[in-house]
Subunit: 317 residues, 2 copies
């Protein structure tokens, strides 16, 4: 049995879309998952009434407070201990849930992931990846996309390992190719960070390093895991997200540009922390919530956290 | 009379497309421009034969060597003093030309611009901007896009001034809005560089600073001049360039995505050096060469260099 905590108050359409997503997931779930719905009990029940969820498959944990989207993360978590995000992390940290999902305040989710539960031993900085849709329908992973604005070469080297494991086990890409996002293809190119990172990636036996990739390679399948600092990654991710808006505005109907509707992917995991934490997009609808629950399940089923622990374990002398 | 040096050997289709571009420009030029065609005289004449350029409007300076696209810039410039790029910078530095244009080896053009002619007094680091097409047909300017991979806050602050002057006088945007590329909108967000740059931009009376912009804002008109380090800018520029390829591959016909065909813009100027230097794309065709000559003319006519000098002049005590 997998127990997944779901923040019902997070996202622009809470709790209705979260309820709909949970129901949609449960409709084909074969009893191996129990959902813990966290939020305002009255509001949740109001929406649950119209849905056909089997009461034995979920429980509700009342959390009367809500951290709004633009609140200061650390301050809000401190001042709102009864918020759905604070309660969600408390349940996760105390072992009452195995994973936690929220489409709420991204900053609060990051802070919670970093401080409520621990980083896996050996992981210097946990990271957040972003999906990059490719024309063949597969997904590339860009790491980091904003959790670590300033990075050291060792951080990027670890993101490569974390991203590779996620790509292999969750995105099901065999021997994922790792590329270093850079301003030129040749070894030796780059800013100081990229120049110092290249040799680390080259010598890293845990990954399948294919060298530098440029901006033009990000939306094609030159690399499955694309490593960069969280500043560059965040700018690239948000630029990619805006392509879907532009396509809609210009009435372009194209399967590939449709994939830049990041809502469909549900959310991205925080990689390198001791338990699965999934951060969703503020505009998440039912399908996004369903997909996030799916990703959390897959992370549990494949024991991704255990695999990360193995990779970062210091070999015994 | 404006005398413009044009490297005839640069670009994938040299010298034919350079000749065609020069002819196209000269067809409506009213005698105020004299072109100095630099390259292999025999090859240039071969292509000139089929074109109707008035012989009084141009001269040829023979340069028998060519710096190939993938040669090491500094090494190539040193070992090939008779190359079209080396000769082009020599003519520029010695005052025989007023501006220099090449679609050849970008690195060699950068090195030449930095070392053959001087930076304007007060400019710590010259920069290269890249155009960002917007849906209304206008062009935003992203600075830096690769000349300065690692930057200090003072560099970004100067790029803002250089970019604003180019945007105002060459792209004809009144009081161009300057945005700092960042991973969040609020003041205080960012990596260390962006955090330290924000207050400098805010206090800079030479620019119209509008605050932070995110990746999603880059392809819309939230800011006219978008300031970032050359690493991030290079990744963004090349990603934007790849959108045109993707649109073509997917048979998407759209006026806006057509504008991501960066070839049409011709080239980008090196900003902050003492004389106009324009670096073109390797795949430049006739139209690109024509546009680059136009940009160089506009830079001379508006005395952009003089205006930059004024902006960076230390006020007398």
């Amino acid at each position: 049995m997998i127990t997944i905590g779901l923040d019902m108050m997070g996202g622009d359409f809470a709790p209705l879309e979260a309820v709909k997503g949970a129901s949609a997931f449960m409709a084909y779930n074969k009893d191996e998952v129990h959902l813990v719905l966290i939020g305002d009990e009255e509001k949740i029940n109001l929406h649950l009434d119209g849905n056909s969820m089997n009461p034995s498959t979920y429980s509700i944990v009342h959390a009367p407070q809500v951290i709004e989207m633009h609140e200061h993360p650390t301050k809000a978590l401190k001042e709102k201990p009864q918020s759905s995000i604070a309660v969600g992390f408390h349940l996760l940290a105390s072992g009452k849930t195995d994973a936690f999902i929220s489409a709420g305040n991204t900053g609060a989710m990051m802070v919670g992931a970093l401080f409520s539960i621990k980083a896996i031993e050996g992981v210097l900085r946990p990271t957040i990846g972003g999906y990059m849709p490719r024309e063949d329908g597969s997904l590339g992973l860009l790491v980091d996309v904003g959790l670590n604005a300033d990075c050291k070469p060792e951080n990027l080297n670890q993101f490569a390992v974390l991203g590779s494991l996620f790509s292999e086990h969750i995105l099901k890409i065999d021997k994922p190719k790792v590329g270093l996002v850079n301003l030129g293809e040749e070894e030796g190119k780059g800013n100081m960070l990229a120049q110092a990172t290249y040799p680390l990636l080259k010598e890293n036996t845990l990954i399948n390093f294919v060298g530098n990739i440029e901006g033009r390679d990000i939306l094609v399948d030159k690399a499955d895991v694309m490593v960069c600092d969280g500043f560059t990654g965040n700018v690239v991710l948000k630029l990619a997200e805006s392509l879907h808006d532009i396509a809609i505005r210009r009435n372009i109907h194209d399967e590939h540009f449709d994939r830049f509707n990041f809502e469909v992917y549900g959310g991205v995991p925080v990689l390198g922390v001791a338990k699965p934490v999934i951060i969703g997009h503020g505009i998440s609808h039912a399908n996004a919530f369903k997909n996030m629950i799916n990703i959390a399940c897959r992370m549990m089923e494949t024991d991704l956290t255990g695999k990360i622990k193995e990779s970062f374990a210091v070999p015994a002398e």
